[in-house]
Structures are given as structure tokens and as C-alpha cells.
Symmetry: C7
Subunit: 96 residues, 7 copies
Amino acid sequence: MSDLRRIVLDVLQPHDPSLIELTRRVTETERVEAASASLIELDTEVRNVKITVEGEDLDYGAIEDVINDLGGTVHSIDQVACGTYVVEDKRTLQDR
Amino acid sequence: MSDLRRIVLDVLQPHDPSLIELTRRVTETERVEAASASLIELDTEVRNVKITVEGEDLDYGAIEDVINDLGGTVHSIDQVACGTYVVEDKRTLQDR
Amino acid sequence: MSDLRRIVLDVLQPHDPSLIELTRRVTETERVEAASASLIELDTEVRNVKITVEGEDLDYGAIEDVINDLGGTVHSIDQVACGTYVVEDKRTLQDR
Amino acid sequence: MSDLRRIVLDVLQPHDPSLIELTRRVTETERVEAASASLIELDTEVRNVKITVEGEDLDYGAIEDVINDLGGTVHSIDQVACGTYVVEDKRTLQDR
Amino acid sequence: MSDLRRIVLDVLQPHDPSLIELTRRVTETERVEAASASLIELDTEVRNVKITVEGEDLDYGAIEDVINDLGGTVHSIDQVACGTYVVEDKRTLQDR
Amino acid sequence: MSDLRRIVLDVLQPHDPSLIELTRRVTETERVEAASASLIELDTEVRNVKITVEGEDLDYGAIEDVINDLGGTVHSIDQVACGTYVVEDKRTLQDR
Amino acid sequence: MSDLRRIVLDVLQPHDPSLIELTRRVTETERVEAASASLIELDTEVRNVKITVEGEDLDYGAIEDVINDLGGTVHSIDQVACGTYVVEDKRTLQDR
């Protein structure tokens, strides 16, 4: 089973709608169980946020559509977890 | 279920009322189960505080109203968690 | 329920009475279940301490009175937790 | 029993396919139970990612084939765990 | 109940008796359940140690007497915990 | 019982065989239950790795033989644990 | 009960016997349940190691004899724990 279970996104988003509305809308996407958003930086025009989405068999296209519909753009996909459980990314001696 | 379960706010607040009164009043808002406030910085006129609010299906408008009624302003929404549980924001290799 | 459950205080206190006596007296205040005090800095005249007080429905006025009666002053209230449980203050990307 | 149970890879990969597709395909490899991928660095042509794969008796050749088939290359194998359970790599006084 | 449950002391002590003997003697004091001592610094004449003592309703006077009897002096009381349980001192945004 | 239960080795090894083969072969040594290897540094000729081996009553000579047979050398033994359980090495005030 | 339950030693030891032999011999001392040794520094003539010994009612004299018999010397006793359980040394605001 190669279901997408967790995804962490770096997102640029205008100030309107609010971070609450964005998170709520992402959470309403099919098969999403929970999502959290953390503010990275606040600029005059946009905010840069980190969004973590969890669920079973997530549909990334649908999640990205919701973000785009609200005027946001996914700058990068920072973490992805697939399979029968979530493998946590542990520090190795190669991580700085 | 896309209920708002946790919210972290960066708030500027005058010295009166006290941080205890502010936190108590936020906690009295409908559907709030618990809240904590931590002092970030103390200036002559205002204090800058970080408020964490938890509950089921939180009403952000009502929470902001309480803060405004007590003379405070929400400077930024730093974290939001929605869904059937709270997704903790874990460090990734992109976090500094 | 908006009961005050935990409070962290930054206190300036003369060398007499001892930190043990101060902590014991704070703990004897009504509805306090436990308290701890940690030395921050030791000066010739005073000591600067961090006091953490836990209980159900704490009476801050009574706690401050005890500290004042022993010659101490509350320099700042650094953390407050209210509600049906204690919300721990977790690090966000906005904390330095 | 000397089964390969966990492997951490440092991988260079073109932007297409996405990190989601790469992780999903690695997870579909025989005997893989779960995999996660974390973005290390994003360049114009390629992305550098850290992939953690877990399972029982993993087939490294098959995993590397999948990565190569998608245009990626394994830059280094950063961690390997074999045996009846996964031995976590704990910090010693010799680690910097 | 305002019983003293834990105390952390910064102690200066001559090289004789050993740190083992000092810790053992502190542990033998009435109502002490356990104690540990950690070396902070080793000088030609004295050693500087941090002693943590736990028990129910500790008698600080008796503990200090034991330390003095062995030639040591309490330089400062660094932490005190009283009440029905030990409140751990958690980091706040005001701690450096 | 003074059985050797865990050993951490700093090893220099040629690029061939792979880190997977090295770890697998160490794990196949008698009485080894599990082993992990982490890359410390990658040079043109050799790789420097940290190997953690666990089992009951480990035979260090046999483990070193396997490493030597594969062209590797043990640069140093960084940690050793013997007895009825593994004592974890905890930080003291003397560790930097 | 003031039994010695854990002791951490800073030891200088010649290269022969090995760290494994030293740890094994310390573990064979009466009433020792388990011991671990971590390499701090490796010099041409000696190695500097940190040894953690656990047991009930440890006999320090016997442990030191074993170390001396093998050509080693105890440079300092870095931590001692006595009593009915091991009190962990927790960070206070006075620790650097």
C-alpha cells in the first residue's frame, strides 16, 4: 500500500483569506483528517506558511487546487510520507 | 470535520488588565477548553504575549473580540490546527 | 471553566527569608497544590527567582500578598494557564 | 537474521516526476512498508532529497532501480539497519 | 501540604571526604529518599558540586548540618520544590 | 553476568563492498541481533562509518574479523556496554 | 537506605587492555549489574574514557581496584547517586 499519508508544503499566500480559512479549507479536502499551518514570515503583500496535512490516501492535486483557488502557491513540497504508516525523518550524521 | 482545534496568537496588550485577566477572559469564550499566555516582551506601554487557545470548533471571531475589548490587538496568527485531531508541526530539513 | 491552573512569576526577593521559606509559604496559600522556585541570579541585596505555582482555581492576589509580606516583589508574570487542563506552550516557527 | 530493515539515502532527482511520485514509487517496491522523503535543497535543475525506507528484508537493488528509472541517482547511502529489530544510532561523545 | 520534596544545592567541598561519602551522608539524613551529586569544577583545594536531594518533608537544616560537618559550604540554593508533588521548572520565553 | 551487549565502532572501509553488505555481514556474526551503520564521511578511497552492534554476549573478535575480511579497519571503539542490561551514557556537567 | 546505585568516572587508561576488557572487568565486580564506557579522547599513550556503573550497594573501592589493576587511574568522580532510587540530575537555570 503506497498511500500518501502526510505532506508538508511551503506555501505563499495573500493576507486574505486568513490562515484559519486556508487551513480549514485544506482540511475540508477529501480524505484529509487534520492539517496545521505555521507562519514562517509575514511580508506586506503575502505570508509564507508551512502546512502539514495528514490523512489516508491524500489527493495532492485536490489539496493544491484548494490552495490555488484561495490565491496561494505551493513554493515547494518539503516532506512526503507514503505507506502503511508514517516513517518519521530521523537525524543522521549527514544532517547539518 | 474541519473544526478549529488550536490557535496560537501574537498579541499586543496594554498593562491593564493583567495577563491573568486576559487569559481568563479568552478561556471564558464559548467552546474554549483551555488557554495559556506567555510573556514575550515587556515595554513601557504594552506587553507582547503569545496566546495558545485549545478547544473544539473554536470561534476565532469571538476570541479576537475578547482581546480587542480588553484593549489588545492580534499582531499575527502564528499557528492554526484544524481537523479530527491536532497535527503537531514537526521540524523538517527546511526549518532553520 | 476558566480556573487559573498554573502561573510562572519573575520575583525579586531579599536574602531573608530563604528560598525554601518563600516557596513553602507560597505553597501554603489556599488552593495551591505545589510550587517550585529556581534561582535566576544572586546579587548582594536581593535574589531574582522564577516561581512556578500550580493548583485548581489559584488566587493570584493571595499569592502576590504572600510574596509581598516576605519582602518580595513580582517583577513580571511570565506565563499563565487557565481552563480545564494546562495547555503547554509549544515552540512555533515564530519563537526565537 | 540479517534482513535489511531501514535504509536512508541521499538522492539527486530531476523536478519531474514530483517528490510525491518518487516516494510513492519507492513505497510500491516489493517488501517496502513505508517511506518518507525530505527536501534538502532545491536547485534549478535538480532537487536533493533524503529518503528513508522501512520494511522487512528490503531489496536495495530494486529500490535503486526505481530511483534510477525516474531519473534520480543515489548520491550516498547514509544509514543502514539490519537484524531482528532496528538499532537506533545514538549520540556518543565522539559525534560532533 | 507544603512539604519540601526536592532541593538542588550548589556546594563547595574539600577533596576529603570523597563525593561518594558526601552523597551517602546526605542520603542518610532523616526523610531523604535519594540524592545525587554532580561535579561542576575541580580546583586544587576544593570541588564545586551540584547536589539534588529528594524525599518527603525534607529537613533542610539537617542536610546543611551534614554538609557543614564534612567541611562543605552551601554556596546557593538553586531550586526548591514544595507541595503534594514536584512541579518541574519548564522553559518559558523569558528564559535565556 | 558481564556479557558484551552493545558496541559502537568507528570504522574505515573501502567503497566496495557497499555499506549494506558490510552491515549485513556484521549482523550475520554469531550472537549479533541487530546492527546499524551511519556514514560519517565519504572520501575518494574510503568511507568512514559508525557501526552500532547489539546482541547478547557479543564476540568482538569475530565482529572485527568480518570487518577486516571486507577490507575495513576499526579506527576506534567508541562505546561499550556490558552486564544484565545496557546502561545508557547520560550527559553529566563534565561533558562538553 | 543510602546505597550507592550509580557512579560516573573519568578514567585514564593505557591502550592495553582494550575498552571492552576494562568494561567487562568492571562489570564483573561484586554487585555491579551493568556498566558502559564511552571514549572521550584517544592519545598516543592513553585513552580517556567515561565509565558509568550501576548496581545496588556498589563497592567503589573494589571498582577502583579493578581499574588500577588494569593500569588505569580515576581522574575524577563526575556523578554519584545514592538512595532507594536514582535521582536524575536535571538542568536548572544555574547550569551553563
